[in-house]
């Protein structure tokens, strides 16, 4: 991974192909996995179905923590797909990194702030949208001046900080992990001769350890991202 990406312009929009490729691959992976897991569901679950049901219960649990009522049923599928999407995108760059001709073609898309900001934007736009759907325009607007009117600026700022922190927390964690992976890889290939062997073995060991830790971080961050998304949504959806 380096900071040079293949970028194409199309109809005045600029596409970073590294991001798009990662998103495409992760979408295909997720769909293939979930489709395979969900084949021929039965009342007495078999092994594959158990895995999927466990995942569904897991994300439903996240949603129900924030929205215990029936409002939560609306967001089960969204939370499920969001969790899988963020999780797979967090892990993708740990195992697959592709540099061709000095340009990075594949790495975790969540290591790019534009992707995490897009995800956060999607979540927050949906939360505002469902805030209006569930509470009506009046109820939605009243949230900005509750509990008291002079908190309006703070409420407005909160919406922006929610958006920014949600995106940058994920971005920072994944980006830092990938940069460190790159640095360790460069360390492994840095020496020559005997020193090179030592640094390669040491670098290899550290790389493996850091990859394992990054899997952990990526999972935690996906969980946090989905949890905070549902919390922000519930703040809009559930009226006090």
């Amino acid at each position: 991974m380096n900071e040079s990406y293949p970028v194409v312009s199309f109809m005045g929009l600029r596409f970073n192909l590294a991001n798009d490729l990662a998103i495409l691959i992760s979408c295909i992976l997720i769909f293939a996995l979930v489709f395979w897991l969900a084949r021929k569901p039965t009342l007495r679950p078999n092994g594959r179905q158990n895995v999927l049901e466990y995942l569904i219960d897991f994300t439903n649990g996240i949603v129900k923590q924030a929205m215990p009522g029936k409002e939560g049923n609306r967001f089960g599928l969204f939370a499920f797909v969001l969790f899988l999407f963020v999780w797979v995108n967090n892990q993708l760059g740990l195992f697959l990194q592709l540099d061709v001709g000095g340009k990075t073609w594949l790495r975790s898309s969540t290591a790019d702030p534009i992707i995490t900001l897009s995800l956060a934007m999607m979540v927050l736009v949906l939360s505002h949208f469902f805030g209006v759907v569930f509470n009506g325009t009046k109820g939605y607007l009243r949230e900005y001046v509750s509990p008291v009117a002079f908190l309006l600026p703070i409420n407005l700022i909160e919406n922006i900080t929610n958006f920014v922190t949600l995106a940058l927390r994920l971005y920072g964690n994944i980006y830092a992990g990938e940069v460190l992976l790159l640095l360790i890889r460069q360390l492994a290939f840095s020496g020559h001769g005997l020193l090179g062997g030592v640094s390669f073995i040491g670098g290899f060991a550290i790389e493996v350890i850091w990859q394992g830790f990054s899997v952990f971080i990526g999972t935690i961050q996906a969980y946090i991202f989905v949890t905070l998304s549902t919390v922000y949504t519930s703040e809009k959806v559930i009226s006090d």
């Binding site: 998103i23 979408c27 569901p41 179905q49 499920f80 898309s109 995800l119």
Partner: protein
Amino acid sequence: MATFGDTLFLLAAFAVLLVLVGTFAWKPVTKIMAERQDKIDSDLDYADQTRQDAQKMAAQREAELKSSKEDAVKIVSQAKENGEAQRQQLVANAQAEVTKLKANADKDIAQQRQDALNAAQKDVASLSLAIAEKLIAKELDPAAQQTLIDQYISELGDANGSH
């Protein structure tokens, strides 16, 4: 380097993924999960119902068993009473019968004795009369007398039916 194209691509890809996962995985599996939930609920209800029925039936059976036990005790005691009464009846009957028989026998014996006595008296009277007749008729002839006596005696024996 503003790459809004990535944002659009992400949103499009996410939307498509949402629809596909929803159609091919989420809907069937959550449907199955809901069905399972319903089945578990109904099974639990059914089990509860069955348990209550069984308890009711057990209580009923116990009550019936108790009443049948009481019935049995009653029947046995009644039979005992009946048997006792019958036995006493029989004994009383037998005693009465015996008494009657004994009385009859006594009466018969007395009657027979009386009859025998009467018959003997009659015989003796007629015999005495016959002897007196013969004595008066053949008084003067001792020889004849003797034969007469023998004759009477043998006649007497004939009359008594000893021959």
